[in-house]
Subunit: 246 residues, 2 copies
């Protein structure tokens, strides 16, 4: 897993095909990831069809990777399959509730990340689309996801046709806590964020957005309270529609 140290998000893909045999081998290996009660509470919908990619694209703010990547994977929290199993085996499933969504979403995300680690090690490039949780209803409709199935992560996958610079990370001290959480002083914040804020690309980002600080770009433009509140309502509505809030 040496690749983790040099991983980049890849948004441009070469013409080299991602064969089903490679893709399936990786999806199967990722299945070794631990899950709740070993129930594997996830499903993966594989999109290769151009028309389906076109229909998924708006859910991902029409980011070009969705239509340009050879493969799009939508990983779903799935309590439908386990519930169908229960129904076929003389018992009544009890998974139409929020905690079961949390459990299935956890399984789905852990599985997703093992897949990413494996795929990057195999030379593939990945872009993880956080937009999945912004427009779940469109994805549910396009992929025909039934009750108790909720899209949770989307990956665009292909062989890289770019090598973007390595992105920055906070120092380890910024996110580990010994024995109990010690809250951040103003001085801690300076120490942990000064490097990120000093990077030329981030200073440029602040400038072109007409802001004074990098945090303002995030809080005032990219991830605003207004959007987050509206999207919280949308997400809850989708959870309800998929039967996870009964």
């Amino acid at each position: 897993m040496k690749t983790i140290e040099n991983r980049r998000t890849i948004r441009k893909y070469s013409g080299q095909p991602v064969t089903d045999s490679l893709l399936h081998a990786l999806l199967e290996k990722a299945g070794r990831t631990q899950t709740m009660g070993n129930l594997q509470l996830y499903s993966v919908v594989v999109t290769r069809d151009e028309a389906v990619k076109q229909r998924l694209a708006p859910a991902h703010f029409n980011q070009p990777m969705v239509t340009q990547a050879p493969v799009v994977l939508t990983v779903c929290a799935d309590f439908n399959r386990t519930s169908r199993w229960c129904e076929e085996r003389q018992t009544v499933p009890g998974y139409a509730n929020f905690l079961s969504f949390v459990n299935a979403a956890s399984d789905a995300l852990l599985y997703t990340q093992t897949f990413c680690n494996l795929a990057e090690e195999a030379g593939l490039g990945i872009c993880y689309l956080g937009t999945t949780v912004y427009s779940p209803e469109t994805i549910i409709d396009v992929l025909k996801l039934p009750r108790l199935v909720m899209p949770i992560a989307t990956l665009t996958v292909g062989f890289p046709a770019e090598e973007p610079p390595l992105s920055d990370r906070l120092p380890l001290a910024a996110y580990i806590h010994d024995e109990s959480y010690r809250d951040y002083t103003a001085e801690d914040i300076d120490t942990y964020y000064i490097y990120k804020e000093s990077l030329p690309e981030n200073r440029h980002f602040v400038e072109i957005n007409g802001k004074e600080t990098l945090a303002q770009v995030f809080a005032d433009i990219r991830y605003t309270r207004k959007d987050n509140e509206a999207l919280s309502t949308t997400f809850m509505a989708a959870l309800r529609r998929q039967g996870f809030l009964e």
Copy 2:
């Protein structure tokens, strides 16, 4: 990452110490995992102190790994640090909402799984404790987690002192769908679950629980509707207490 193919959940640990230098190197490498806006919306609380382990144990149903493992890691969805950054940089954070919890929990789980893959590759054994989402309030109190920090995954970590048998997995066909989700017929369920149901350990499990089917052990005993509904309420209350439902 060849280790993924032979990974087992490890619940018994040898006396070999897990040094801070090894642990920190792995926690830092895992930080290469992609996150929302590269904000790294997670924190990790490291527990080595015996007294703290004793206080965490009830939250994990007193499973012996919690007190016996050299290290316990609690990975948290964390919008506190980013919000503190915003406050120190002349802007008002807007993350006291459900979608922000989903985003931070996603970052935390993806980070957790890269850590697991790296740790297993380094020869460590891990047990992922799903109990974290059952008793969040105890964990919040013991680890002194502030507003906008929610425990999401717990790992017990140490060098293995056991080699349990490899656990079964569903065949790949059970969880991949081409282009759109095709729901499961009774025949599909038979095909995908027959192997799991036929295993001697699972037949034994059905027998000692006085049940007729393996699915009944899950739905009637291990993960019941009644428990799931009660735990959904508990989890929502903890989310509210931590400020994610404002």
